[in-house]
Symmetry: C3
Subunit: 344 residues, 3 copies
């Protein structure tokens, strides 16, 4: 619970209404009750405020609520909502140290404000920074370095030698540093190419449940500061993903591809290997990158094309059988004309 | 082992033949030996009974086997096969209580007929119902409620506050309640929106290996009674999936989408977010739902279209280059005609 | 570190230069330093040798380096690179026996040269061969047999009764033997068909992180010798995959499909169920096998077509809207001509 004034200050917003109002929690506009604060990030939902029971609303400047209400006015209501939600409803992280039932190698260097739950296994020479938490069943192989305030959820695995910087979040069952998929043909069979590189996850990277970031064959696979991966995303060996990228669920990035900063990949998108994608590229869901892509584009489809062109092309797809039929008719009519003219 | 009469009674079928026959196990028609019972669910396999060594067969009414055989005649032979298989070959579940090597918080409320294997970690205030089994390495975060006769396989994870009703099955490494993928743009970077909602899995839900059901941002993600998810399926935050749905492997449902009852999604299908899909909708493999879908339809493709239309459209695809070439020829011929006519 | 002569002997190559040269490690051509050995597998990178600091190079016969260098000349430089990398940089596996913090059933038969890390759980009657390693948190259900020199990474799960032959590698969180996805319609609901078969992984099979190989309903799911699965691959129940196949990430093979030897599936490819794919078939990324496929073909797309045809067809896709527009123009011109001729 917090006073409305405190929340306005927290988000740098302007308070209009009762500064001493007690706010208990954040709620969506259609379920908010007394004591709740809600938000309008999109003016099309503004009308819903009419019947809303919320005690206060976060709004962008220049927008008038239908009724007189307590307001926090700020430029980015969605961001303010996220910050207030964090402040009101995210509990402080525990500091429990190495708990009974965790196996930590003697040579590991664990900050005393870190927490390691039961069922975790931490290998030789591992370093764990201040405030970092390993939830139950996390496995850290030898020689891994993990920074401050990281959150590794249950069953996450980090393999040998990988490095996580600060405030990295691994959702449950994320796998960092498994072997890249590399084999040399040897007659009819395949010979495994040892994958002796590592993975580096920079500050504020988040990796979704079940997502896999493979270690490099030689050198490193790197995901740069602030990039977020959704669930079940596959990152091949020696990939480099820039800063502040968003990769939606079930996307796959093939080996050695280099992606710029501020790129977005929709769900189930993919790239081939050894490609370069420039900064500020958006790839639509299911989009397939099979060639280098210059910066500042929004592309979709297989083959990749400008998103608007793709929308038109896909709208034509259901009409293909009809087009084919029409083409036959046209040919027949044309032939008739040709015959007619020949006769004349 | 069981007498044939007992199996006929079990499935409510009519016995034709020796009621005292001993049946050892169920076997497919092309591998069945003496002592086995097999089944014919599809009459196209009926001819295979000719050389079949099975001691008995499950058949639908009105179908005559090629030779005289011991029969169980019932309306749904496939269902009867499943029930007899369960009866003959599924062993009773163990009741071992909390085993040595499991960590269970003191505040947890564990029914005495539940089983918790070594390597499991069960958090504070967790409730576990009668007959429920946690296989090795399952992690249950704080404040989770799990009903009766649930089966959580190795490495399954259920995060804080989620609720599993009765007879829920989690295959190995399923992840329930990981953070939804929500970020508010904050300048060039992203600010994490805390995901403070939960996941509810109703009675008889089954979740496949490695599948992820994300917790809601606010409120709940819900999978209703009887719905089955295959492996590596992704369910975004605040999704609601109705009763008795089937989601085949590698399908992805984006955040806040609402799916009706009795829907089926083929493998690698997907939906965009914030959509509504009516009851009894079938989406073909790789189908992509990008708009609301009314009830009682069978749709495929990207864009989504009636399945039969999609079949025709995709059959036209390989002919596209040829169509394009033909169109050029048509234009040329047309031009010739026009020139000819102009000259006249 | 090794002498160059020793490395040449290791790969059966011909040494040209100083046999006593000390080689420390393998490095890619653009990062190699003194003491490193590098390789040229593709002649288009030959020019890079000009400025390369490597002490030695692995080359195919008949290729001349731009400068005089120490060489190992052999028919397959990429394979030689893999073998030398393995020799120089892959450490010997530990032999630690059953470590403290591992739970192993008394009835299990563990070779004394096997290693079981903390957090592993090994069930009743499990057999574990010589030199096999279970990394932390691996769970082996009852009655599993695992051969020699297998490597099961953290959080891998092998369910009851499955069999792994020799030198099998499971990357972290791979799941072997989860229930296949089988349900019999029972009125509006589904009745679970018990999956009482097993999975067999033959010699030298490798399964990627998070990949799932489901147990058979009855009988077995089998992956034959030397086949490699990348991450997040789904293998349905009763599938049989031949020898020396390559399945790239996020591919899905539906139940009961039989795939021949030496097949390759690109990323996010898929097959429907109950199909047969012959030997030496290559399916491109996103290719969808919806019918039986004869041996010795390279196919892509949905519907599947010869890869070259698919390339042309997809290149036509972006032009569809334009084609449709042209077709309308053609029809108009045709109508004008027809009218004109009728008038005459």
């Amino acid at each position: 619970m917090a006073k409305l004034q405190k929340l306005a200050d927290l988000v740098g917003g302007e308070l209009q209404g009762d500064p001493d109002l007690d706010i208990v929690q954040v709620a969506p506009i259609d379920r908010a009750q007394q004591g709740d604060i809600t938000f309008v990030a999109n003016t099309k939902y503004l009308a819903k405020l009419k019947n809303c029971q919320a005690s206060a609303v976060i709004l962008a400047p220049g927008i008038d609520p239908p009724d007189k209400m307590n307001l926090i006015v700020c430029a980015n209501p969605y961001l303010a909502f996220a910050k207030i939600l964090t402040f009101l409803q995210v509990s402080e992280r525990p500091v429990n140290g190495v708990m009974s039932g965790a196996w930590v190698a003697e040579s590991a260097d664990i900050d005393k404000s870190a927490t390691i739950y039961p069922g975790c296994v931490v290998g030789e020479r591992v370093k764990l920074g201040a405030g970092t938490i390993l939830y139950p069943g996390v496995v850290i192989y030898d020689d891994v370095t993990i920074g401050r305030d990281c959150l590794l959820h249950a069953k996450a695995v980090v393999r040998e030698g990988c490095r996580l910087h600060d405030r990295v979040i691994l959702q449950p069952a994320a796998v960092i540093g498994a072997d890249g998929f590399g084999f040399a043909p040897d007659g009819d069979s395949y010979y495994k190419i040892p994958q002796v590189g590592i993975v580096i996850l920079e500050d504020d990277v988040e990796i979704g449940s079940g997502s896999c970031v493979d270690r490099a064959a030689l050198g490193e696979t790197r995901i740069c500061r602030g990039t977020k991966l959704d669930n079940l995303v596959q990152i091949g060996h020696n990939v480099n993903i820039g800063e502040d990228c968003i990769l939606v669920a079930q996307t796959g990035i093939s080996g050695s591809t280099i992606i710029g900063n501020h790129c977005t990949f929709g769900g189930q998108a993919a790239t081939a290997g050894h490609l370069k994608v420039g900064d500020h590229v958006m790839i639509g869901s299911r989009g397939a990158v099979t060639r280098d892509v210059a910066a500042n584009q929004t592309l979709s489809g297989l083959p990749l094309m400008p998103h608007k062109q793709w929308l038109r092309a896909t709208m034509t797809l259901p009409k293909l059988p009809e087009m084919r039929k029409e083409m036959k008719q046209i040919k027949n009519r044309l032939e008739e004309l040709e015959t007619l003219l020949k006769e004349n």
